[in-house]
């Protein structure tokens, strides 16, 4: 089985504070981490690898610093890490990112399953997964908490508002994994050292993927940014009894 995991880096939210009133972002330290949901997607892939045996290939776009996220994924147990790196990829929106990833999945060949995070911590878009499945022409399951594979089919468990539902799709398929779906493992320290000292990251350019400039034209037009309104203060309850009363009144318990 060959599993592809698409990851991206986001800014560590612990490194900055947002002041909504002043409409400013204050950076204490600019540190990049792998998007938490993407790490859960990787963990889901590695669990499948542990259980059934699989080749796990990790893909990421982004500037040179994306190499850290790819090396981290390799250190955690991925077999290959490929940096989709080209000046022409800068400014890609969800549509273009999905197109680049689809070409990379095609180029890899014989991919059975693509896993990615359901949403990025920064944009919160959640569009790359569905767009990638569309570009590949594969079935998709979104926001899964658990992924298993048996008899050429993927089974995913996801919340449906009231509880959970299990969905099955034929392979090849794409599943997006929700943040918090699992507890990503720590990379082995020795693998971290090797990932920089010995492992050679692969890099694929637009030319490697056969993508022309026209195909990399984003759909989205960025017209600026605004800050969401300040959050309203919630109701402060005086006692646990009051909380129980409220929960009962709203028929939650």
């Amino acid at each position: 089985m060959k599993i592809v995991v698409a990851i991206k880096q986001v800014l560590d939210p612990r490194g900055f504070t947002v002041n909504r009133k002043a409409e400013k972002i204050f950076f204490n330290r600019e540190e990049w981490i792998t998007n938490p949901a993407d790490l859960c997607a990787l963990e889901a892939a590695l669990m499948l690898k542990d259980k059934l045996g699989a080749e796990v290939v990790v893909l990421s776009g982004g500037p040179a610093r994306a190499g850290d996220a790819l090396r981290d994924a390799w250190a955690r147990g991925a077999d290959r890490a490929i940096h989709l790196s080209d000046k022409a990829f800068a400014g890609a929106d969800g549509f273009v990112a999905a197109r680049i990833l689809a070409k990379a999945v095609d180029k890899l060949g014989n991919v059975d399953l693509v896993l990615c995070g359901d949403k990025a911590l920064d944009t919160g878009g959640g569009e790359v997964g569905p767009r990638l499945a569309e570009a590949l022409g594969w079935p998709q399951v979104l926001d899964a908490l658990d992924v298993s594979v048996a008899d050429g089919r993927a089974r995913a468990i996801k919340p449906n508002g009231k509880g959970f539902v299990a969905l099955e799709v034929g392979l090849p398929a794409l599943v997006t994994v929700a943040a918090g779906a699992n507890q990503p493992r720590y990379p082995h320290g020795g693998r971290i050292m090797q990932s920089y000292r010995e492992y050679q990251l692969e890099a694929w350019t637009a030319a490697d993927l056969g993508l022309s400039e026209d195909e990399l034209e984003p759909l989205m037009d960025n017209r600026g940014q605004s800050f969401p309104p300040e959050r309203q203060r919630g109701t402060v309850l005086d006692s646990p009894q009051e909380l129980v009363r409220l929960l009962k009144r709203n028929r939650i318990i």
Partner: protein, 388 residues
Amino acid sequence: MDFTFAPEYVALRKMLREFAEEEVRPLAKTIDREHRVPHETFKKGAKIGLLGVPFPIEYGGMGAGETGYCIMMEEIGRVCTSTATNIGAHIGIGAMAIYLDGTQAQKDKYLRPLASGEKIAAFALTEPNAGSDAAGIRTRAVREGDSYFIDGSKIYITNGPIADIVSVLAVTDPALGARGGVTSFIVETTWEGFKVGTLENKMGIRGSSTSELIFDNLRVPQENILGQTGLGFVTFMKTLDLGRVSLGAACLGGAQAALEAAMQWAKARNQFGAAIAAKQSIQWMVADIACEIEALRSLVYRTAWMVDSHKPFSREAAMCKLYGSEVASRAINKALQIHGALGFSREHPIERAWRDARIAEIFEGTNEVQRIVIASEMFREIGVRVRP
């Protein structure tokens, strides 16, 4: 001159910080209160190579050298001095003695399970009448055919009650004494004649276990001699030299944590209408601690670099231990002062840090001994011998 860490060290620190925060910090208070060793941390740590950071990957370690080892000790020391002590005694002196002077066969048999964390090591030097003065060792090893029989006891042995493998220093030729008559042995704790004696009830590092070890006609095969017969003292001194660097790193972590906690509290605590961070008295303490920490950080990582690039480092290692333990004590003492009465509460981590810090000025060679080492190296440079 480039003072930045290579990217692999940055990534390693990031992972270790996460491990320390998620797995080690939550247990720090409990193991202190319950006076117990965090076996669960050993188990989890073994999976990420925590118990073999400086040892080569082929032995199951991380292959991260002294620099990586210091990063680990700093990050663990930042959240729990007891855990840092357990790991330090295991890697830095217990397993290190075997790594430095073990034969290939000894490394295969003993270093491998130690580096991968399957087994735990300890290092047994101190006796009731010998510690800093190793010449006072009474533990005897008598040869009979191809075996040695060890009789005697050791005290204050970190990891003593939990160790599987112990490096033991014993007298093989009383006539020669410390100069050629002392040999080190690799001892398995399951062997007949090995006994764990009294456990110490300590003021600090209560999440580490310290005990007496008793050898009663303990048979050790000749192939378990570590290093050369009669030169055990050399093996032990080499090992202790190295251990001092990483001990300085653990102190660095403890001092840094205290500074961060004090600053957070100074920001939150209001007196006379403003945060106490605005008071000059607090700012001076913060500035003084920060300067010392920065100096210590430079010293520790430069010394680690000297170790990794095979330069002589004895003097600097002694400085790491001496300065590190004193900086940690001063920093934690001032940080506790900034916390006021809150810092005196057993509910606050700074109270534990204060108790934990004291031992670093004593064990692995008292700070007085470190000064002797430093001074004798200094005087040696001008051709004067001042060793006791």
